[in-house]
Symmetry: C2
Subunit: 425 residues, 2 copies
Amino acid sequence: MSDSHPRGSVAWAGHGIRVARAALTRLMEPADMPGLALIEALGPEEALALIESTVDSDATVEREVTEVLAAAGTRRWSGLAEALTRWRPRLVDIAPQRDLDTVRRFGGGLIIPEDDGWPQALHDLELGAPIALWRRGTRTLFPEQSRCIAVVGSRDCTSYGANVTAEIATSLVQRNFTVVSGGAYGIDAHAHRGALAVASGASALMAGGSPSLPLTKRESEAQPPTVAVMAGGVDRFYPSGNDELLHTITEQGMVLAEVPPGTNPTRYRFLQRNRLIAALCQATVVVEARWRSGALNTAHHAATLSRMVGAVPGSVYSANSAGCHRLLKEGAAVCVTDAADIAELAGSIGEHLVDEPTGDDALYDGLGTQDLLLLDALPLRTATTVDKLCVVAGLSAQTVLSGLGRLEVMGLAERLASGWKRRIW
Amino acid sequence: MSDSHPRGSVAWAGHGIRVARAALTRLMEPADMPGLALIEALGPEEALALIESTVDSDATVEREVTEVLAAAGTRRWSGLAEALTRWRPRLVDIAPQRDLDTVRRFGGGLIIPEDDGWPQALHDLELGAPIALWRRGTRTLFPEQSRCIAVVGSRDCTSYGANVTAEIATSLVQRNFTVVSGGAYGIDAHAHRGALAVASGASALMAGGSPSLPLTKRESEAQPPTVAVMAGGVDRFYPSGNDELLHTITEQGMVLAEVPPGTNPTRYRFLQRNRLIAALCQATVVVEARWRSGALNTAHHAATLSRMVGAVPGSVYSANSAGCHRLLKEGAAVCVTDAADIAELAGSIGEHLVDEPTGDDALYDGLGTQDLLLLDALPLRTATTVDKLCVVAGLSAQTVLSGLGRLEVMGLAERLASGWKRRIW
């Protein structure tokens, strides 16, 4: 094997599927379709072995990968030889066992598609599903898609966006949803904090208090209030200003990434990370976003995956709401103003009904046209006769009499010795 | 004739269609479907003659009215005799010639369906179209539906709603639209004022200045900047606090009502007035409305008539935006944030394109995945080699080289003696 592996110090193929997938997450960028097709065609270990070998072309493999790509809608690719020259320079950097040890030391692990705990929602990404997910935090089970809501938005949020986000996140957790976001500044951070505020009570969060470890199996498998899906490795929290927040998430929730420990976030990885957030969640809600914003990218991923998308409206003068309004204008999102709307959006129809605020006019809602005409005709101060009411309301005497009876029962009209008047409450 | 007309002092049937319709607007409440069916079946003069007579039943008329109502979707009605007892008590009040003289003195008139100037858009109300429209103001021609936008909302608007309304109305008039509203406090008043601000220049409006009368025919037939459709008579401005505003509208625009002079607005008449506003306009825009609001009634009328409905978003904390958000949530309205959106909504697609605000990210929009990966990999400070870029970006040497060429052309990468780095602007 060493002959066929001139660059790296150890050949990792043959160390098992988990190790192979761990290694492949370092060799391939997220959503590297030819790479994912190679893994699909050969399996993770064979795929890694091929990359570790000196073989530059293989007609059978080439054909299989081409077929997998074609089935996924990719008709053209640059071929196996070219792809191998992309992956092989990174062989010198792979150390999957060290990476696995690193996350284990953090109390984390690697979730692979072969695991029972693999989020089934990721299958909707089809060939674009991640090779594996690096996990960190006390919670070990990613919740079912139906219980996950992505709450995302711009980094430079307004105080309006911060407030709405915090309230929505808190209320979603109270409704047994997990709030998924990207761990960034702004809306993301407020979403995570709002979710944590329920889980721990404000005091533990403020004090940065840590629950006593280790948790029981039942505790560790409890639904996390919040999950941060990172564009870089789970060992290096980005941005550094959210370091404490992200540590709190590991204590009470979960941090995930498809890139291995030590990986820096890049623009490309942020965009691909967004597809994971969208895929993992039943609905994606954009609280604030500029006309162009990464959050819109997440929303579009969600729409592509036939997930529900919600947008929170705001002032037409706020550039930070322009992206949300854009989604609404384009029909790409549904207008949501609170957690109840979002719960409804997440599809639990009937379980979470929108509470209709009541207004002053509610009293008149049940009235028919003729009773409404009659009510309008009834004087407020001095009582009037049925004949006069007929003229004013434009109704027959019979209609007026029966209508007065109904209005009296409803407490809207009263009969005095001198005639009828409106009853004021 | 006097035998068959015991109540009123004069029998008005036989004085022509205009006089008959003028009289009928006083006998029948707006959208009195049996009454409108009677007019449809017999014509205005015959219908009025029947009401003025002592005839209490007529099998032929009864059958014809029933047929007209059935064709309009009304399967049951209380019959001719009952309807006559509704209309006849008001015969003592009719004085159509006096009413016509009154509005003529105000420089107004009566627009009837038989006139060339009858708004064709009202035909969409089918049987529910008004009997006639009482008009007041220097402008005599109601504009085509395609040039009319209804801007409506709650009476107790916020300063946010006031600002948005004024800006939208001004900008709509600048785009050659007529702003139609209901002359009420709040959003309605700001809509009218915003529209007048363009027509007259701010100075004339502030000074309450009146244009020199009479206008030429061409001037009087010019498109009015704004039209107020009232729930009461055009001779009594309601609410009284808007008296000066409504007078200004008569000087530079038009005031309309389907009820005759001297009529008070009632709840029922407000609701029916809303159907006129909706029917007259290409699109109805709700700027601010509470969860229950008359403006939503206008919006629903518009939707029923297959007119476009727009809603302006606002803070989720503002009760005055809750009705707008309700329309958006229910899919009953399109999100609009400015006059350009509304112009687009009004259907002149292509004529009024939404200007897409440009953002920082625009620079990268054209980049393919591989160039984006490469851009992410390029160092900001110290130049790096192509080999190193292959490892960092996960791209083949060939792809890196061609990508660097493209990025260099775009001004995003620069070549130094020591290698390549990102170019910062």
